[in-house]
């Protein structure tokens, strides 16, 4: 179990993590979701004690991480697969980590086998591909047979096979009763793996709920209507408490009213409908919507270079998608 209480980190005048309070419950996969620059990595670094919180505290199994008897047995972390000395062989890299926590040498062979690096164990990690580096990092995290595993963007840059391997691994680890805390900037990545979600933007906690709840709460139901008199129907929908935006192909996209009520409104006012269809925003869109205001750097769409600040917070940031 990881517990953060009012966790805050300030770098100069920039607030990277702002008053985060959350609990990562044992025995399930908790997704830590947020756009790039939202403070996910900084939060994880504070959990490990790599960064000192400006305010607040965070504990692992009730203790500050540095106070745990055998840290590797409580929590294994993979923040950055490149955080290895490239001149050292995979075996020696894992051996020096194992020794620091009094783990038996035989354990190194076990984790190498587990991640499929046995054949390159004696090779210097300098020559490893991204995927192999990631496996080495995961092997290091698993060395101490930890109750908690923390991964920062583990699938970033991996090929589809590597992504699938990591997903299955996380599920298998969770199946053994371990706690998994995994960050991502992609909702789609979490949709299928996580049980619980923590969503942050600009260092603040935006949502702390189950995945099902998140979907229910955030995927906005909207209705697509095509009619010969869109202005009149739009006025009626707004009067009834809904909202409308223009959709593709001259359609009207209405939100806030159930599909039946929109149909009835049109019928009662003698408006002919050409199309009436409920649509569900994808989870990715819901996530974008939720974090749109908290994206750190907005990218401009091509041709909109001069659109300026006025429109930036409505634009979906292609750079982080």
């Amino acid at each position: 179990m990881i517990e953060a209480r009012g966790l805050t980190k300030r770098f100069g005048d920039k607030l990277a993590v702002d008053q985060l309070t959350f609990t990562v419950e044992p025995g399930r996969i908790t997704g830590f979701l947020g756009p790039n620059g939202a403070g996910k990595t900084t939060t994880m670094r504070m959990i490990l004690g790599l960064d000192r919180p400006t305010h607040g505290s965070v504990t692992v199994h009730g203790k500050e991480f540095a106070k745990l008897a055998y840290p590797m047995h409580e929590m294994g972390a993979l923040l950055d697969a490149k955080a290895v000395h490239g001149g050292r062989s995979a075996y020696n890299h894992l051996l020096c980590l194992a020794q620091s926590n009094g783990l038996p040498r035989a354990r190194v062979g076990e984790v190498l086998e587990l991640v499929g690096l046995t054949e390159v164990a004696k090779k210097r990690s300098k020559g490893f591909s991204l995927g192999m580096g990631q496996r080495l990092g995961i092997a290091a995290a698993l060395l101490g047979d930890p109750a908690i595993l923390m991964f920062d963007e583990p699938v970033n840059g991996l090929d589809p096979e590597g992504i699938l391997w990591i997903r299955n691994l996380m599920k298998a680890l969770a199946g053994e009763g371990r706690t998994i805390f995994v960050s991502s900037h992609l909702m789609s990545e979490m949709e299928n793996t996580a049980d619980h979600l923590l969503v942050i933007g600009r260092g603040r906690l935006i949502a702390d709920c189950s995945v099902a709840e998140f979907i229910e709460r955030n995927s906005v139901q909207s209705v697509r209507v095509r009619t010969s008199k869109p202005e009149i129907l739009a006025g009626l929908i707004v009067a009834a408490g809904g909202t409308t935006v223009p959709g593709a192909g001259g359609a009207l996209v209405a939100q806030g009213l159930p599909v039946d009520q929109i149909g009835d409104l049109a019928f009662e006012n003698g408006i002919r409908l050409h199309e009436l269809a409920p649509t569900q925003a994808s989870l990715e869109e819901a996530f974008m919507e939720l974090t749109a205001d908290s994206v750190e750097f907005h990218a401009h769409a091509p041709g909109q270079r001069d659109a300026g600040a006025a429109s930036t917070d409505r634009m979906h940031p292609t750079g982080v998608a």
Partner: protein, 277 residues
């Protein structure tokens, strides 16, 4: 190929030990594995011995070739054979700095501290492992330089033996001197965290400062010389006090160098413990 079974370890439950905590002994083993598993360690240590012996041999052969003009009363045959230490101090400083800066350069420090977050333990274990390795190698370099140098000078009645006054102290002192230079650089490495910066600072403090001091007026030099790290430290590997030198005696001079190293180490430890990694 995806094997996703973690079970063996979970079943056996043999790790880690049931009681106690990850401590200094574990960190020592870990740091020893680290230092012996990179090639740069071997190259640097080999270079140290080769350069010390090589330059010492050149200096000794030079002295032997003009033995007639040398008065045995003032000539320090031990110091002559250890002349390679002037360059050796820079090589060991490189290794001392690298011991800690390579962790920052590669990012390994983040992995190191996330398996052993008690930073004082990591810092001390690294320091002890490096101190032992640099002392052992320093002694090898010093003794080898001494024996090679004396052999080259022996035909010319200039050579001394370990039994002569102060000689054994000086040869052992050569090893201690190298280790102290290494520790100074280790401390600087922890403060600066950048390989190039730490090596530059160490060379500046050890070598450049010793040269620059010569540009000061003589009256200043007489007061300042003995506080210059490398000049003070080199007294411990001399057997004779050169006339007119305003230096501390052998161990006093070494204590000055060791003091600089200690200050660098303490400041380094404070930086290592308090800064975000």
């Amino acid at each position: 190929m995806a094997t996703t079974q973690i079970a063996p370890a979970a079943r056996q439950r043999l790790l880690p030990p049931e009681t106690g905590r990850a401590g200094f002994g574990d960190a020592l083993r870990s740091e020893f594995t680290k230092i012996k598993s990179t090639r740069s360690t071997y190259w640097t240590l080999l270079a140290l011995v080769v350069v010390c012996v090589g330059i010492g041999a050149l200096a000794s052969a030079g002295a032997a070739s003009q033995a007639n003009g040398i008065s045995k009363d003032t000539f320090d045959a031990t110091q002559q054979s250890l002349a390679g230490l002037y360059v050796g101090q820079l090589i060991i400083a490189v290794l001392g700095a690298l011991t800690i800066t390579s962790e920052y350069a590669t990012g390994m420090i983040r992995t190191t501290l996330s398996v052993q977050p008690r930073r004082g333990v990591v810092f001390a274990a690294k320091a002890v492992v490096f101190a032992v390795i640099s002392l052992v190698t320093g002694l090898i370099a010093s003794f080898a330089s001494f024996f090679v140098g004396q052999a080259l000078m022996s035909g010319h009645h200039l050579s001394v033996t370990l039994g002569d006054p102060n000689v054994l102290r000086a040869v052992i002192g050569g090893g201690l001197f190298l280790a102290a230079c290494g520790m100074l650089a280790y401390g600087l490495g922890a403060i600066l965290r950048h390989t190039a910066g730490a090596i530059t600072a160490a060379i500046g403090l050890l070598f450049v400062l010793s040269v620059l001091i010569n540009f000061l007026p003589q009256s200043w030099q007489d007061n300042v010389d003995k506080w210059v790290p490398a000049l003070a430290g080199s007294q411990v590997w001399a057997t004779k006090v050169s006339p007119g030198a305003h230096q501390f005696p052998a161990w006093g001079g070494f204590a000055v160098l060791a003091g600089y190293a200690a200050v660098a180490m303490i400041v380094g430890l404070v930086c290592f413990r308090t800064r975000d990694a």
